[in-house]
Amino acid sequence: MYHKTGCEGFQCEDQTLGADLAGVRDEQTVVDRLVAWLRQRSLFVLAYGTGCGAIEIRPLMTSRYDAERFGIIGAATPRQADVLVISGYLAIKTLKRVIRSYEQMQEPKYVIALGSCTINGGMYWDSYNTVKQVDHYLPVDLFVNGCMPRPEALIEGFVALQKRIADGEKGGWLRYRENLDWYKANQRRVLGANMLPDDTSAWLQVGGQA
């Protein structure tokens, strides 16, 4: 992405946040709006429990924080999920699985990354086997900062995401499509011989329309 936009990590987020959404809103029909509203109102979460963030997801769903009241509920498999939550540092070994899970989700799909580890490596900044910047490999829609962020922060993140969805903002999955070559090159660089087969992403390359 860097080569196209000249930004990296949360710099890009700044850019995207600052983008003008007014034009988008005008292009939406009533049906589009309804659909967008429905999408934000019902988020099925595939919580990829990597790192310490996995422990933070659980209270989110239980009585104390009760994310269900926002229509957020867990999903068992990527096929049913709308949001992928990457909850912490990603080892290279885990990255492969995360990418696979992400590619198997059905569009529209969103990625929320938890904690500083996903932003810049965090306390694992010099580890030999973790991924430092997750958005080099997956189109993260939202980073939730902290080490680890509390469930309240997580809920805030979700609400922010819901708002962006309702506004009809261009989701990360479209970025993934547009910059597939770049994402794939990054992935290939890290994964090397363990690179995923392209059966889940090839259709994007041939210009597949979802």
Binding site: D199, W203, Q209
Partner: protein
């Protein structure tokens, strides 16, 4: 010569159809001692003759392939002749002759298969001959009572006479039907017989046992009522028979679920389905009998369809275990639809006719108020869903699990034509469920029961209510079409998965050589359910193999009676002579 043999055999194979359409007048053939064999078509025979007339030519089609040996068709023609003779016979000797021709010609068909082992060959012939000899004994019993072999109502029997005769005939027919625990010969022989032959065994030969069982209703009109008394609105003997049938079907169903070989599974399923028929006959009454006939009809069509489909698969892939197949749906689509229709009918799901026959049986049970039996039938019926699913999943769905399954091609036409015809028949019968009862009504009349007399062919009517097959089929069809159309009207696009390995697999990436097929293991965990585990851990094969071992040991002892030294021979003569002489002299009498 080959061509002549084939044409001749084919002509014989269509004779049941000719007989069914064009028979008029009786045929009489003299036997010794003034006895005669006579042949005619009775309503009951006519029903089963119809099954034969439909089944025989369809089953013969796969045998016409070049790959199949000549003798197969010729022996099959003989088998058809035997069954036809059995059905047409008006006397027990003719019945027995047909029965035995059927037995040994089918045995020869089985034994010439390269897969048949000695144990199977022996168990098939010994069980069937035991049945035949029990039948013969019963027939001679009837002869000693009436002085004639004619099939007629036996009245005024004493309890002992009746009991002995009923046991002899009943055991014979129950062996043929494959009732527990006398079913052991069925799975082995169905499994190991050549594929086109298994079709015949399951679809047609087993029905002859049903015919025999129904014949007993004619032979022993007093059996239900007089001998054992009543039990809950029905005869106790019928109650017993019904339980025998239902236990057979339950156990056979569980055994079927545990099989990992297609034909073996179908064999157990066949046993189970005929268990329903036995139950229905046990229930008796107009509903029970017509349910039995209807189910026999459906099972004939279904087992023809399924066995022919699987014969096609085996011919194309050379594999017969669930583990070694998979994903054939794209390579053998017509066979897939054949099996799909087959299992829907087999599982007794509406709108196909399997439901119609089961409905009749259920209503008969409710009418008789035999509720526990009803629950037991439901148990085996519901458990049958499991093996039905296994039947369609393991070969056609899932992932191809052997090189053959990956490159297989659609079965050749001799397999497909009968499948297409049978699918049409099943769907037609499902749409017009009244056709089955219309066919069964003459039999009911002949048995002295009130026919069901549906208002139209589209409805299956019973005194307890019925259903309309045409409406059902239309509603389902229209609903299906509308749902599919609406789905396409929604936004977004349907995308085909990039590869067969594109599975949600907990993030893992399965490789093509990973065993992703869940064929043979399916149903294995059922063993953990106490009842099923208990049933599956049991088998009557130990008893029979023990019996065989005892006989062998006895034979070993008796062969010691035949020494090879001359002086031993003379010794035994002298001893016997001396003993007899002493005994004779002590007795003091002359000759």
């Amino acid at each position: 010569m080959r061509l002549f043999l084939r044409v001749l055999s084919l002509m014989v194979v269509v004779t049941p159809a000719v007989t069914w359409f064009a028979w008029d007048g009786a045929l009489v053939w003299p036997l010794f001692g003034g006895a005669t064999l006579s042949f005619d078509v009775t309503p009951l025979a006519s029903f089963f003759l119809l099954l034969l007339a439909m089944g025989a030519p369809l089953a013969a089609l796969p045998m016409l392939r070049k790959e199949e040996p000549d003798w197969q068709l010729a022996l099959f023609a003989l088998l058809v002749l035997g069954m036809q003779g059995l059905l047409l016979a008006q006397d027990l000797v003719g019945f027995f002759i047909g029965w035995e021709i059927m037995t040994w010609s089918s045995w020869l068909l089985i034994v010439r298969s390269p897969r048949t082992d000695a144990g199977t060959a022996a168990s098939y012939i010994l069980f069937n001959l035991s049945a035949a000899f029990l039948l013969l004994a019963g027939l001679l019993g009837v002869y000693s009572l009436t002085g004639s072999f004619a099939i007629q109502a036996l009245v005024d029997l004493t309890l002992a006479q009746g009991l002995v005769l009923v046991l002899l005939f009943g055991a014979a027919f129950l062996i043929k039907i494959g009732t527990l625990p006398l079913h052991l010969w069925i799975p082995r022989s169905y499994d190991q017989a050549p594929e086109p032959v298994t079709v015949v065994l399951s679809a047609l030969v087993s029905k002859m046992g049903v015919y025999g069982l129904l014949l007993m209703l004619i032979l022993f009109p007093e059996m239900p009522g007089r001998w054992f008394g009543d039990w809950l609105n029905g005869p106790l003997s019928g109650y017993g028979l019904a339980w025998i049938g239902v236990i057979t079907s339950i156990v056979a169903t569980f055994k079927a679920i545990a099989q990992d070989d297609m034909k073996r599974l179908l064999a157990y399923s066949s046993i189970g389905q005929l268990g329903y028929v036995t139950t229905a006959i046990g229930v008796g009454g107009a509903l029970g009998i017509s349910g039995a006939l209807y189910h026999a009809l459906v099972h004939t069509l279904v087992s023809l369809l399924l066995f022919i489909s699987f014969a096609g698969i085996i011919a194309q892939t050379g594999q017969r275990r669930f583990n070694d197949l998979g994903e054939l749906i794209y390579r053998m689509p017509i066979s897939f639809f054949g099996v799909l229709i087959g299992i829907i009918a087999l599982a007794g799901m509406p709108p196909l006719p399997g439901f119609a026959s089961k409905f009749l049986i259920f209503v008969a049970l409710i009418e008789a108020q035999w509720i526990l039996l009803f629950a037991a039938v439901i148990l085996s019926s519901a458990a049958a869903f499991l093996y039905c699913y296994k039947l369609i999943y393991a070969p056609f769905l899932g992932q191809a699990n052997s090189p053959e399954a990956r490159v297989a091609r659609e079965a050749p036409w001799p397999y497909l034509i009968p499948q297409i015809i049978l699918m049409g028949m099943l769907v037609g019968l499902g749409m017009f469920p009244g056709m089955g009862t219309a066919l069964a009504d003459p039999v009911l009349a002949a048995l002295g029961l009130a026919p069901l007399d549906g208002p139209s062919l589209g409805t299956l009517a019973t005194p307890y209510g019925g259903y309309d097959g045409v409406t059902l089929m239309l509603v389902f069809g229209i609903a299906f079409a509308l749902v599919t159309a609406l789905f396409y009207m929604l936004r977004g696009q349907l995308r085909r998965a990039g590869s067969r390995q594109d599975l949600s697999f907990a993030g893992e990436v399965p490789t093509p050589d990973q065993p992703l097929h869940y064929g043979a293991g399916m149903g294995r965990e059922l063993r953990r359910i106490p009842l099923i585990g208990w049933i599956l851990a049991r088998s009557s094969s130990g008893f029979f193999s023990g019996l065989a071992e005892r006989v062998e040991r006895l034979a070993e002892h008796s062969s010691r009676l035949y020494p090879s030294q001359p002086w031993r021979w003379v010794q035994s003569f002298v001893v016997v002579f001396a003993v007899l002489l002493t005994w004779g002299l002590v007795r003091g009498g002359g000759l």
